[in-house]
Amino acid sequence: MLTFVIRRMIATVFVVFTITVLVFLIFFHTPGVDPARKLAGRNPSPETIKAIKHQYGLDRPLPVQYVILMKKLFITRDLTSYSNQGQKVVPEIVAATPVTLSLVLGAAVIWVVVSIIMGVAAAVLRGTIFDPMLMVLALIGISMPVFWLGEMANLITQDRYHDTFLFSWVPPLGYTPLTQDPVMWFKHLVIPWLVLSVLYIGLYARVLRADLLETENEDYVRTARAKGLSERRVLLRHTLRTSMISFVSLFGLDFGVLVGGGALLVEVVFGLPGVGLLTYQSLISLDLPVIMATVIYGAIFIVIANAVVDVGYAWLDPRVRPA
């Protein structure tokens, strides 16, 4: 077990390192993109550009630049943005993280609760029309592009029905920190939570239902029934618990992706200044240090989540451990 953990950790580090190199090569070596020109701002003289190139070490060979960037990012933590000069990158990400966490945690609570209810209901009500109905609902949830759903939500809550009692409480797009005004924080996030969770409710309800139905046929469940346990007990104590293993591991992976910046479409549509939006803005403006930092931040989250899930799964289910 321990060797497995250690091996996973080493693989993790390796993967993160490779990602940083990839990102660096993609952006620092792009034809047509000159970081010095970008730093120099509007209408600089050619001499200014040269001066900046030298000042930022952009005239050094690529491997040296990579090392300098990594050092500034991790060790001295004074890496500054190209678009917003003087602005340190790491504090920027730190400031954006609570926004993403608020969004993802809230949505996660909603989707976990609702999908469990839906999945269990569908499994229990198998054979009635409720089962396919719920599953079609789930499928619809999966089939909607999340950014479009967000736009539709905006259309309804910000514009068409904004003046009715239903949605007059919806504030303009944006974000208020929890510490500043909890009520406003909540109001800003309710619609984004719902929009983000729709996709995952669909996914998880289906997975849970399929898992439940599969474990129904397992021997130990039949044993439990034979022992005379009520259906509900069988469901809640036995099948649900087993199915939750895969549910939880899926959740771990998705949560990692979302916190790592995967919620960027929702953040863009609702104007939430989280890590996803920061990543997107930096990519569009080719702000290389911020791109590097946000992508690494995201990759680390995902890779760690992957590793945790793998290890956890291996711990829970010894059959899966490699020989």
Binding site: I19, L22, L139, I142, W148, E151, G262, L265, L286
Partner: protein, 350 residues
């Protein structure tokens, strides 16, 4: 999208081969096909999907002969006839200040059925053309992705050992890169200058760029199950027996492994197409997917964002098309999976 340890479990529609002397029944493929056809919902979904495909590819016909419009040229000063009256397609704002120019809304007639966009173009015609692009990219990238994944997965699964390790680590890296970030990064970079590898060059506005980008980023999602399928067959006892009997690699691949792999692909394909269509629309919405002058459902939603408060149909219509297409693919995909893999061992999250 992610998978669980469950995917490493073998899928094996060929297991439990009938014992000697049994009367040969239908082949597993025919059985699966029959089951699929009897699945009403799946067939209905397939019909919807094919319907959307047909309608989208009739875009040019609609534009030329029904709407009489060119959905790709600017029509800022165009006029059209509604209910006998000739009106401007872009109409000046009202009140004292007369600010802004608002495109006409849906006429529900042959011309400007869904109204005009901010450049006076016929939205309905564009949605159809957009469908062509979205479907082409969606299906194309799913197919290319599958091809690449088959190669990668089979090489990894078949040769095992170091090759497998390297390939798996490579897949890990691509997988760890958040899908959208990877796509956005590559797209941002390539859309400036296009892509030139040796003698091949793809211009920045070619549809090949988004197709290839999307195909590449989803390779791990397909390669893993393929690899799993290969591994599961390799470990079966009858393979060991076959090898002991001197069966060549080629026979193994074609007779045993490939059918297994193909089953995986068939189950995955509708779901992959659904995923690629969603991904393309997201990238186009962010302006780093399909580039003008081409239009796709995602770019039209992006156009519609600017008109959301005045002419919401520009954003609503392409979204509905995406939902219908993806939904029908998902339902059909479910049907295929039920038909081919009744024990639902292969459960890939969409």
């Amino acid at each position: 999208m992610s998978t669980v340890g469950g995917l490493e479990h073998p899928i094996d529609p060929l297991a439990d081969a009938p014992p000697e002397g049994w009367v040969a029944g239908r082949s597993p493929w025919a059985l699966a096909g029959h089951k699929l056809v009897r699945n009403r919902m799946a067939m209905a979904a397939l019909a919807v999907f094919l319907g959307i495909v047909v309608v989208s590819f009739m875009g040019p016909f609609y534009a030329d002969h029904i709407a009489h419009t060119d959905p790709f040229t600017s029509q800022l000063t165009a006029t059209t006839v509604i209910n006998g009256k000739r009106v401007d397609v872009l109409q000046q704002g009202g009140g004292v200040l007369k600010l802004g120019e608002t495109p006409i809304g849906p006429t529900w007639q042959r011309n400007y059925f869904l109204g005009a966009d901010s450049q006076g173009r016929d939205v309905a015609a564009r949605v159809l053309y957009g469908g062509r692009t979205s479907l082409t990219i969606g299906i194309g990238s799913a197919v290319i992705c599958s091809l690449l994944a088959v190669i990668v997965g089979m090489v990894a699964g078949f040769y095992g050992g170091v090759t497998d390790s390297i390939i798996s680590r490579g897949l890990d890296v691509v997988w760890a890169f958040p899908v959208y970030l990877l796509a956005i990064s590559i797209a941002t970079v390539l859309l400036t200058q296009g892509l030139t590898i040796g003698p091949f060059s793809i211009s920045a506005s070619s549809l090949w760029l988004p197709t290839l980008i999307i195909a590449v980023i989803y390779v791990p999602y397909v390669a893993r199950p393929v690899r799993g399928a290969v591994l599961s067959v390799r470990e079966k006892e009858f393979i060991e027996a076959a090898i002991a009997q001197g069966a060549s690699n080629r026979r193994l691949i074609f007779n045993e492994i490939l059918p297994n792999v193909i089953t995986v692909l068939i189950v995955l394909l509708p779901l992959m197409i659904a995923t690629t269509i969603l991904t393309e629309s997201a990238l186009s919405y962010l302006s780093i997917g399909v580039q003008p002058p081409n239009a796709s459902w995602g770019t039209i939603i992006n156009d519609g964002q600017q008109l959301l408060y005045t002419r919401p149909w520009v954003a609503i219509a392409p979204g509905i098309m995406i939902v219908l297409t993806v939904l029908s693919l998902n339902v059909f995909g479910d049907g295929v999976r039920d038909a081919l893999d009744p024990r639902a061992k292969l459960r890939v999250k969409d």
